[in-house]
Symmetry: C2
Subunit: 142 residues, 2 copies
Amino acid sequence: MTAHNTSNKIVTAEQLLLSRGVKPTPQRVVIADYLLQTDSHPTADEVLSAVSEALPVALSRATVYNTLNTLKDAGVIKEVLTEPGRVRYDANISHHHHFVDVKTGKIVDIPADKVEAIGELLGDQYKVHGFQVLFYGELEQH
Amino acid sequence: MTAHNTSNKIVTAEQLLLSRGVKPTPQRVVIADYLLQTDSHPTADEVLSAVSEALPVALSRATVYNTLNTLKDAGVIKEVLTEPGRVRYDANISHHHHFVDVKTGKIVDIPADKVEAIGELLGDQYKVHGFQVLFYGELEQH
DNA sequence: GTCTCAACTTAGACTTATTCTAAGTACATG
DNA sequence: CATGTACTTAGAATAAGTCTAAGTTGAGAC
């Protein structure tokens, strides 16, 4: 299984993990692999069921959470907070934003350059009700 | 107790609730009041302890959650999702964004006009590590 | 090759945030 | 002043995520 990562070179999940210093155990490879080939921004639970039903590897809930946190800490994936009470994951770590369809809950990636004119229209396939810019950083104690 | 709301007129919490069609019970007034006079983006639990210790009104956890959901549905307050697993609340319902200090967790409101040039500096009291634009809306089925 | 040790995985207990339930209270209306 | 609806309450229930302690794996030492 192959996928595009930030650098835009085709890599296997295993190569990606190795390059980030994460030991590529079968469980981790299978989870990273699943995240790399989906654009559905799954929750931990969705990862568990998708991977469990598709694959021969035994996989416990704790390992899914452990792996997602390991991959997040290693910069392989990112957390996405779109709704209260659940965390979603995204293997697209390039600088981008998200569009949440309030009817279906579907989450679509928006490339950063689309957002240059933040208040403007996003194109005609999106009806924007509103948006939220969330900054992360540090306050200078003036 | 008074506070500024969107319309920038000074209103009491009670008047605000009435204007939004929410019956101003003592518990609701006290919670709305607390949210209007703080800029700390508290969680439900923080609302409960702040209000419980400051006030003579008995207040149960369930009522805090009920009231926060009622106020959110009535458009009096907004949810803010900044960290996994907890919801914060903001009585500033004007169009604005948030800056999260990754060291302290402090959340500061950013007026919408500050964000016009989204990629640019935010001013020198903020060191921006990154930001996330979260759109809400509807996908057109083309 | 096989021993050993640290790293990884596991099941299930635990925690935390939130919602639900069922009973009690309050207060406007007839 | 009886009544009904809306509100509040304590505590049980749920859901997402973390922790714990025991078992497994596999890379390097020998």
